[in-house]
Subunit: 357 residues, 2 copies
């Protein structure tokens, strides 16, 4: 077991099952609830209950999928908490991927002005993305994470044991976050990552620790995302818009897949600005492409551009974006034009148009 | 003009109109919105815009009344903010009573993980109750303030000029908070208050300052309501329940009226426990009664008791209540029984049953 200590809490990596009960006891919890979605209820909850030996006062279930990361789903969960007489000393354990963690964290942060919560992210993506940083919230009007607060959990427990429940597609998607951490902040980690050929054979505990330490360094410098933390938005300006537009279609993407596409498009923008050279762009594109197994729908370019205009990371009329200066280095608050976004999207289409193959 | 300095912001009392624009400028605000309800739009907004000389980017209106202090109303306001392209540097000015301030503060605290807000409470109640303490939120399932967060505004501007827009009933209701501050913490303020015969002739600025300084002292000792701040819940355990039960009826109460009733009932409980003597109880009852102009509906006793069981201030199966030890002194976390609640309610009924007069 490894531990990363943050200012208010710690992230335990590996088999820290007994620690979960200790955290509950330490906090004088009155009632304990486990929030799951339909998938993690089936695939993760049995392992979790068996190993942790926790006897929850209630299991609260929400439907699986990003389309349910809404205020309406929050209302269902708040309602369940009231029906179970959850008081201000109650605690929620969020067992699932990003939707369960983000939504459950927001529900806990607002129920009776805030009750405690523990994050047990079960996907690679959520282990890397949501363990550190205190962002919780839901989508609104097809804008990702449009509503939410900054609030830290009591503790985070991440365990690669849950990866056996993930499909190859989910595992690859989650790997996007590790690729992002390396690209923005650590050239040597990027060089190591390039050598990985099979995600099923990685020694996960040291790998997760290395990747999370990058995120910790960035977040602790800027907890409320006033400046440097925007580094973590690399790939997200375009990625979120692609994800939002495709959400309602048959080609809906996993979050990590959208970020992979966003990182490729935004690297193209960095290249046309002369921040990256052609070799670096090719190296990034070729490596990220390995983790995305689909063709990219060419029809949606205008809708994607429109959605970017409403992205919450923008200020005033500017489209602000984090670009790479080089592999392992970033520049925040880059004011990009809609024309540049379009060039990035066209580049993406060229990479992912399998229809002519 | 008087000012009360708090840790993160200050409360200006009186004609501080120019300061509002200064606060907006100081914060580098991108767009400024004013939230009003149907009443304050008509009666307060013209004065506010004329005096402050602010040119808002949008006026957002919600229906007036506690029944609209809901997540559904929040969704309307979040939606308006998105339609107006409000970004993370936007600011909301909440111009109105407790509903506008609490709901608007919650909307701001959660929109894009938090934008800034300024409180301009227009009722006596909200000036005394909501200026200090950082509580924002909405009702849920007829439970008052069941959802929310702790979050401070950038500044609070309170001005007795708005009292001309209040009915006598609203002014009396608001006075409940001042009576509460005196009863829990300041015997000499209570003695002064007893001499007041006409609320329309009070010299408000020093009075508001004195009352708010009591609240400041209590809140700063305990910002997240772990202990001493519960003093401010005096009258609220029973008062909230009465308010909730009568909300849907033709006898619906103003919040301050409910708190006045709650303080009388809870003072009766203190008296049967021997904390207050009979003279103190009579003195409190006779003085508080002056501010409530109606008969009390005897039919609802069981419903009130049921609602108290679900109150968020309770922990586990206990009903926790703040009681007076004496006039000017409080005791928090008093574990009261449903039988005691019933005795308090019966006492109330005796005081307010005008049907036999």
């Amino acid at each position: 077991m490894r531990q990363i200590k943050l200012q208010d809490y710690q992230v335990s990596i590996g088999n820290a099952w007994a620690e979960i009960q200790n955290t509950i006891d330490f906090n004088g919890v009155s009632k304990c609830f486990v929030l799951v979605d339909a998938m993690t209820k089936e695939y993760c909850l049995p392992l979790f209950l068996e190993k942790s030996q926790i006897k929850p006062d209630g299991i609260i279930e929400i439907p699986a999928g990003e389309t349910y990361k809404t205020i309406e789903t929050c209302q269902r969960v708040w309602n369940e908490l009231f029906l179970h007489d959850a008081d201000r000393q109650a605690l929620i354990i969020n067992l699932g991927g990003g939707v369960v963690g983000d939504l459950g964290g927001f529900v806990a942060s607002t129920y009776k002005r805030g009750i405690k919560f523990i994050q047990v992210p079960t996907t690679l993506l959520s282990q890397l993305d949501a363990s550190i940083g205190g962002k919780v919230g839901v989508d609104f009007l097809s804008l990702k994470n449009a509503l939410g607060v900054f609030n830290n959990p009591e503790a985070v427990f991440i365990n690669p044991a849950f990866f056996d429940t993930l499909s190859d597609r989910q595992l690859k998607s989650g790997f996007a976050e590790a690729l992002k951490h390396a690209l923005i902040a650590d050239r040597s980690m990027w060089d190591n990552i390039k050598g990985i050929t099979d995600l099923r054979t990685i020694d996960w505990e040291p790998f997760l620790e290395e990747s999370l330490l990058i995120k910790k360094r960035i977040v602790e410098n800027d907890p409320y995302e006033k400046g440097p933390r925007k580094a973590l938005n690399f790939g997200h300006t375009i990625g979120h818009a692609i994800e939002g537009v495709l959400l309602e279609t048959e080609h809906s993407l996993l979050h990590g897949e959208a970020v992979l596409l966003g990182m490729i498009a935004e690297s193209k923008i960095a290249q046309i600005r002369g921040l990256l050279n052609e070799n670096e762009l090719s190296e990034i594109t070729n490596h990220l492409r390995k983790y995305v197994d689909f063709s990219f729908d060419l029809q949606q370019r205008d809708m994607i551009i429109n959605l970017i205009k409403g992205d919450k990371k923008n200020e005033g009329d500017k489209i602000l974006c984090t670009l790479l200066n080089a592999i392992g280095q970033y520049a925040i608050n880059q004011d990009i034009s809609l024309e540049e976004v379009e060039v990035g999207l066209i580049y993406l289409e060229e990479q992912f148009d399998y229809s002519n193959v």
